[in-house]
């Protein structure tokens, strides 16, 4: 299968800060690729370079074989972009927003009117096509931004945190829609939601400090933490005391507490007995081995500190 995206050593440097640091990647055509990372990891900077909005400091990238620098206009004719913000034109109606976009691509009226009718039907906004976006809910606006990026039938669609701020129903509507676009289209998605990446993406890269940390399917990434021996413990009381005790144990990692329940990783299977010896059996109500989630992988790799 050929690559829709080829990125070789792409970097973006602002003064002494490397927002993206020698990032390399291949994304196969017709797949959904997910880029995960905490705030400031470099995801949006990478997308802005790939969509020709930002000039890389070094490195190169090709989309469908076209270089993002030397063939920027051709690249833009083949991509659709859904940015983080709903940057709709609030002085144009829903339909006019789509028409303006089509005119930017020099589409003929007969062609774009048919396509816009299809898209409005698909996103459920046919009856609201003559209303202004300000009168729409967040979910409707998001669907309209996605539809706008699809008017010209791009070959590669960039979605930068497409479901941020949406309610669960709207998120699922966007997911279903995104899934329906493959394999005709290649999708490059960034998200903060682990369940979104788990559900949608054929392949995931977790990045931080401008670099790729891990690369694989959701199952492969979780498998990487299989050695981590994640456990759930629940006590009948004394949560504070047990937290202090557990934090002092050198073989306990990634401790998370909710009331009297704990989630932790052990440095190895052999540490289960020392753990039980230290906590005793008086207050224990439950202990079980836990399958690692994608979020565990993410936290393990990027740390627990809150980013700005």
């Amino acid at each position: 299968m050929t690559s829709a995206l080829e990125i070789d050593g792409l970097s973006k440097v602002y003064g002494t800060m490397r927002a993206v640091d020698a990032f390399s990647l291949r994304v196969q055509r017709g797949t959904i690729f997910g880029l995960l990372g905490p705030n400031g990891a470099g995801k949006t900077t990478l997308i802005r370079m790939l969509t020709t909005l930002l000039r890389p400091s070094t490195g190169s990238a090709r989309i469908e074989g076209y270089d993002i620098l030397s063939s920027a206009r051709t690249v833009r004719s083949m991509i659709g972009v859904v940015p983080q913000d709903n940057n709709l034109d609030r002085y144009l109606t829903c339909r006019e927003n789509l028409v303006l976009h089509a005119r930017m691509y020099a589409m003929a009226p007969a062609e774009y009117n048919r396509r816009i009718d299809e898209l409005l039907e698909l996103i459920g906004l046919t009856n609201r096509q003559h209303d202004f976006p300000d009168t729409f809910s967040g979910g409707m606006q998001r669907r309209l931004v996605v539809a706008r990026a699809l008017v010209h039938q791009p070959r590669v669609l960039f979605l930068d945190e497409p479901t941020t701020g949406l309610d669960p129903q709207s998120r699922r509507a966007v997911w279903n829609y995104v899934q329906s676009l493959t394999p005709q289209m290649t999708i490059f998605l960034t998200t903060h939601y682990m369940d979104e990446a788990d559900t949608l993406c054929d392949r995931i890269v977790i990045m931080d400090h401008g670099r790729a940390l891990v690369d694989g399917t959701a199952a492969e990434l979780k498998e990487r933490l299989a050695h981590a021996h994640m456990y759930e413990l629940e006590f009948s009381g004394g949560g504070e005391r047990y937290e202090k005790l557990l934090r002092e144990l050198p073989f306990v990692r990634n401790l998370q507490r909710t009331g009297n329940s704990f989630r932790l990783a052990l440095a190895g299977e052999e540490f289960l007995k020392p753990l039980m010896d230290r906590i005793g059996g008086d207050d224990i109500r439950k202990i079980c081995l836990k399958e690692p989630s994608l979020e565990d992988v993410f936290i393990e790799l990027t740390g627990r500190e809150v980013r700005e």
């Binding site: 969509t51 909005l53 833009r76 709709l88 002085y91 144009l92 930017m104 691509y105 020099a106």
Partner: protein, 251 residues
Amino acid sequence: MFRGAIAIFWRDLLVLRRSLFSELLAVIAYPLTLYLAFGIGLRGYIADVDGVPYALFIAPGLISMTAVSAAFNDSAWSVWFHRRVQRTIEEYRVTPITVYDIVIGKIFSGFAQGTIKGLAVALVIFMLTPFRFIPAHLLAYLPFIFLGSMIFSCVGTICGTMIDKPENIGRVEAVVIVPLIFMSGIFFPLSSYPKEAFAIISLLPTTAIFEGARQALLNGRVAPLSIVILLVTAVVAFAAAALTFNRKMSE
């Protein structure tokens, strides 16, 4: 070629068409008030200027002032709003159009707004006052409205591109645009200036617009020097607007 500029121009005219009546009402009120206050209110106190009744003397300048102010305001606020508030400029930039399409589209929108609003004021003054221009003189007058609107639209585009805080656009207008307009002989003849100041004032593009417009509308004369000054300024302003916008977008 220029399909992006045409698309943006189409968008801006569509939006203008929706609010044309309220826009015109707002834009006509200010020059009309000035006309009534100075032209009618003071006519008993001010003698004819160079043989022209004072109300008629200020009319061409007020029409031109409306046109260039509208061109400046529309371009400056439109570019700022699309760049900083709606962020629609970013949506334009991920399509195959160029940054030159965007800047040309916005400049032509400002130019069109200036011309439409200037002509609306001319129509109102024509209807409400007894003063009449010789219709043939209108042909000589139009180049001044066109070039003036174009120049101020470019200046507005530069402001909307470079200025991030909206209050600073108002400050530029108060400190640069309004003095330039008022110093250029809308309300008094340039001969009122001391000799040294006159030499400088007469080379200002705004003087070329307002004095040139007056000569064209009242006497049917097109001053070649004024046209040359305006053409050169328009070319320089356009190049500066395109360059500024391009550089800002590369940041």
